[in-house]
């Protein structure tokens, strides 16, 4: 993997001349969450990973961003690497980012995989939850916030597996309070994509963990219904982090989908 900086964003690029496959990570993690996918697809694809603005190795001095900043970053990475198009995989926040980038620059995406994500923007209740989370993180209660947050990322059984929970904790640990709060605020500023994709005809795969409580199965069903050329698969034995909780199944569905459209 070669590390590059594009507009202040740290990008990891296998640069092997193969078909490009870019992964966009979830909140408040970083590109390290895609280890299992990197391993599984490295031989057949040009793997591109990056840390979303403010998180991981893309730390910023100023953490004021909105969802559109994130979408512009994804577009500028694709353009910066001089790629004609990409296959893009995003989980949760990564899915929101791909959705917005897709609406701005459909021509850059050959296929899109939207995992454990949703089309809708935050409800009143959702916004209130985010506001109190930002307050906690910036007022020195980061650990308290994370403890409550991480429980909901996994299904019950996987939450008992300390190696999984430790991995997530270590991914989060490199992020600053300001970076996490900035990302939280960016999530709160995302538009509603409910009816935005009726004209989008690229192949889309919606993936969702069977026991996802943050973006339940219905959210993926809506994604499937919203796109013209779409399919959906449920990942068993998994909560919100389906690529980490059940990588075998996640990778299998991803491979079948990508092969079909290659």
């Amino acid at each position: 993997m070669i590390s590059k900086k594009i507009n202040g964003i740290t990008v990891f690029d296998s640069d092997n001349g193969k078909e490009p496959l870019i992964f966009v990570h979830a909140f408040p993690l970083n590109s390290g969450m895609w280890d299992e996918q990197d391993k599984a697809f490295a031989d057949d694809y040009r793997i591109i990973l990056y840390d979303v603005r403010g998180l991981g190795a893309s730390r910023q001095s100023d953490n004021q961003f909105m969802m559109e900043h994130y979408a512009d970053d994804l577009i500028s990475i694709i353009e910066g690497l001089k790629l004609e198009y990409v296959n893009a995989v995003g989980l949760s926040m990564g899915g929101y980012i791909i959705q917005r980038a897709l609406l701005k620059r459909k021509d850059l995406f050959k296929t899109a995989v939207l995992a454990d994500t949703r089309l809708e923007n935050d409800s009143n209740e959702g916004l209130a939850v985010r506001a109190s989370a930002i307050r906690k993180i910036l007022d020195g209660q980061r650990d308290e916030f994370l403890e409550g947050f991480i429980v909901n990322l996994f299904n019950k059984d996987n939450y008992k597996k300390s190696e999984l929970v430790n991995k997530i904790n270590s991914l989060i640990s490199v992020n600053t309070n300001e970076g996490i709060a900035g990302a939280m605020l960016a999530l709160a500023t995302r538009p509603d994509n409910t009816n935005a994709f009726s004209e989008t005809d690229i192949p889309v795969l919606a993936l969702v963990g069977r026991d996802d409580v943050l973006t339940p199965i219905e959210c993926s069903q809506k994604i499937k219904e919203s796109f013209k050329n779409s399919e959906m698969a449920v990942i068993e034995n998994s909560g919100h982090l389906s690529n980490i909780e059940n990588p075998a199944s996640f990778n299998c569905h991803l491979k079948i989908f990508l092969d079909k459209h290659r």
Binding site: M66, N124, L127, A128, S132, L138, E178, T189, P191
Partner: protein, 269 residues
């Protein structure tokens, strides 16, 4: 006047007896936009103004906050000044802050004056406008952004007023302005709760407001009239030949309307 800082927020307390009159300013100005109101009301009421977090003299290191933070600041100010109840007047963003605040704790309000504001949250079009504004300001386009925005705040070309507004805005940092745009983008919808409010309410709108259509205020008034008890004081006043910053464009008329409303609720209570 006594100036204090409450958790980084700069507060001006002009002193006096009775239930205070608090003014909450609009974006991207500061408490200075209320100068003509302070002058007119400071001998009649205990007038309090403040700069929202990030703007005016409330410069803060951390400029990542949501609307909720601005609302909590409002309560911290009241607590710090040991004020129980207030008459509060908010214009545009100031109105958003007060609408959220009154939903959290209506006991702190004696009456509410909402000027050129609305209960609806941002729709997608507005959110996208806000994000392009933040991106523009962050990439050095502050002047271009303000040059487009500021003339829309008043109804006619009045160089003297434009200068006044420009001077107030020029004191604000890019980070402070962006911070407030971000906060505005995280507003919740307060429509459903508005009709349940049981305090006197005055709604004011500039007929030629280019930022917030006076239809928004009409909608709020209709909702209130259909749902509130007739015994509750509810008024809608439209100021003609007046834009978004009514209090700056037509200060005499604005002050008289407020004075009339505040006296009215004193008599009826």
């Amino acid at each position: 006047m006594k100036k204090t800082k409450v958790l980084g927020v700069s507060v001006n307390d002009y002193g006096g007896e009775g239930i205070p009159l608090v003014f909450v300013h609009s974006f991207p100005l500061s408490s200075k936009m209320w100068d003509r109101q302070v002058e007119y009301f400071k001998d009649k009421y205990r007038v309090i103004t403040f700069d929202t977090r990030g703007l005016g003299e409330s410069t803060t290191e951390d400029n990542v906050y949501s609307m909720e933070k601005l609302v909590n600041d409002f309560f911290h100010i009241l607590n710090n000044l040991k004020v129980q109840k207030v008459n509060a007047c908010g214009l545009s963003m100031g109105g958003y802050i007060l609408l959220r605040a009154i939903l959290k704790d209506s006991e702190r309000f004696n009456s509410l004056i909402l000027v050129n504001t609305k209960t609806k949250k941002d729709d997608d079009e507005v959110i996208l406008k806000r994000s392009s504004a933040v991106i523009k300001i962050q990439s050095g386009g502050r002047e271009a952004y303000l040059q487009k925005l500021l003339p829309k705040l008043i109804s006619t070309d009045t160089p003297e007023l434009e200068r006044l507004i420009k001077n107030i805005v020029s004191e604000n940092s890019d980070e402070g302005i962006c911070g407030n745009i971000l906060a505005l983008s995280t507003r919740t919808n307060t429509t459903d709760k508005l009709k349940e409010l049981n305090i006197p309410l005055l709604l004011l709108s500039g007929k030629d407001d280019k930022i917030n259509s006076d239809i928004e205020t009409d909608d709020m008034f209709r909702l209130l009239r259909e749902n509130r008890k007739h015994t509750l004081y509810t008024a809608l006043i439209k100021m003609s030949d007046c834009g978004h910053l009514c209090n700056i464009e037509k200060p005499e008329e604005f002050n008289k309307i407020l004075d009339w409303f505040l006296k009215g609720i004193e008599i009826s209570s």
